[in-house]
Amino acid sequence: MSALTVFKALMLRNFVYLKRTGVEVFSIIFWPVIIMSSLAFFATFIQSKEGLVILVTGSIAWSYMFTSHVDTSYTFVRDIWHRSLKKLRMLPIPEWQLIIGNWLFGLFRSAAMIAITSTIAFFVFGFNLFSINLLYLFAVFFGLSLFGMGIGIIISSAILRYGVNAEVLIWSVADALILLSGVFFPVSVLPPVLQFVSYGLPPTYGLEGLRGAFIHGAYDWVMIAKFYIADLIYIGIFWIVLKAQMRHSLRTGFFQKYE
């Protein structure tokens, strides 16, 4: 069977599940509306246009990356919840197809997130996300979704090790990134030690590059190249961890617990 058929099957399965789970459909609309509405009130205290751009671009980019990472992290979680993990593992498809299939579905959900957040930003703040070079914009957002996949891979490894107890990582890792990647502020305001950590994280480059384009009209492709290189290094390392964890789970009998 081709990888495309598998991706399609996984996306369709996720879509049907999501469609029939009212709460999850609600969450796609709920979070963007809450975040952008909060920003609208917060903006009344912000004097500079620059500050507003940082907040709005950060919110849109973070919602986008978060969705990519959540959907990839859900690769094994749903089947653990419903005790069908054994069946999923029995499928004759390699792990990378499982991960990419779920990540691709995340891309569609992320696109819905962008549509909602950017529309609200346009009408509330007069902020047009698509006013910069579209290729540059695409490069930044695709890089963010790749990092989202990386985070999803490492969280999946944790879930295969600790079971549903590791679910909390899905939310807490995203929150840590708000601080460490400078989602709502320039990295330069962080203390030197945290700046060092921040530049070790791929999204920092994407977010700095995005802010530069909106505030100064500067398209820093070198920054974007660094972003992609860092993404690939992280994905590579996380992938090795996932494969090692898979082997460990096969030794401990993790999969046989879930049917």
């Binding site: 058929t5 054994k86 069946k87 004759p92 096969l250 401990t252 009998g253 879930y258």
Partner: protein
């Protein structure tokens, strides 16, 4: 080539729990082979090793010449596994699950099989409204619809109502002509007597006897496999 070859398998879980001790047997072509034993005897552990879900500590296994530990992906294409406690995503229907699994195997869903297991009218019902018997039958359909060469059935009739259990047993017998080998685990000795060509008694992770049901009955001078098992397990203890 024998479809299933198991040689000296050992499995020890965390805390030193020994699930399998030096287990060896082969399953011949066209054979329905039963693994019989009480709960916790090691039947499911063995099936999980053969179906690539668990790695053994020692020993080796081959299914259609493939090593479950090393050729996992290739092997999963040609085996079908169904357990007695099948679970699926609750918000999808049986038909959607059949389609999903068929797509992942690169085949078309086999709705004739659903008819064989009297599930054709239940396929558009959400899984959350399925009874355990319906879940089990869907599990069997999904395990068989890609026409596997080797079928591994872990307690396939547990919890089924007697009428459906008869249908399932009949189908398992038919599998003889449809695939290379069937390995079935059960603690229902009557079922084993009815459908298995050969059986292995397994107790506390050890194989205590392997033979045809008739020969085992003769050897132990027992009227039922249940009594034969109890005799042999007691001898093992002594």
């Amino acid at each position: 080539m024998e479809p299933i070859v198991v040689n000296g398998l050992e499995k020890v879980f965390a805390g030193g729990v020994r699930a399998l001790s030096n287990v060896s047997f082969t399953v011949g072509k066209g054979e329905i082979f039963g693994l019989l034993g009480p709960n916790g005897a090691g039947k499911t552990t063995l099936v999980n090793i053969l179906s690539t879900l668990l790695l053994p500590e020692k020993g080796e296994a081959r299914v259609m010449g493939l090593d479950p530990a090393k050729d996992s992906l290739e092997l999963r294409k040609i085996i079908g596994l169904s357990g007695g406690y099948a679970r699926f995503l609750p918000k999808l229907t049986g038909r959607e699950h059949m389609k999903f699994y068929a797509d992942c195997y690169g085949v078309k869903p086999d709705f004739k099989l659903a008819k064989e297991f009297q599930m054709e009218n239940k396929l558009d019902t959400l899984i959350e409204d399925y009874s355990s018997g319906m879940l089990q039958r869907l599990g069997l359909i999904i395990a068989l619809q890609h026409r596997p060469e080797v079928v591994l059935l872990d307690e396939p009739t547990i919890g089924l109502d007697p009428q459906i259990a008869v249908v399932v047993r009949k189908y398992i017998k038919k599998l003889k002509s449809k695939c290379s080998a069937v390995l079935i685990t059960t603690h229902n000795m009557y079922e084993a007597e009815e459908i298995c060509d050969r059986v292995a008694f397994i107790d506390k992770g050890r194989i205590i006897a392997i033979d045809t049901p008739k020969k085992l009955l003769r050897k132990t001078k027992s009227k039922t496999l249940e009594k034969a098992f109890i005799k042999l397990a007691r001898e093992g203890l002594e």
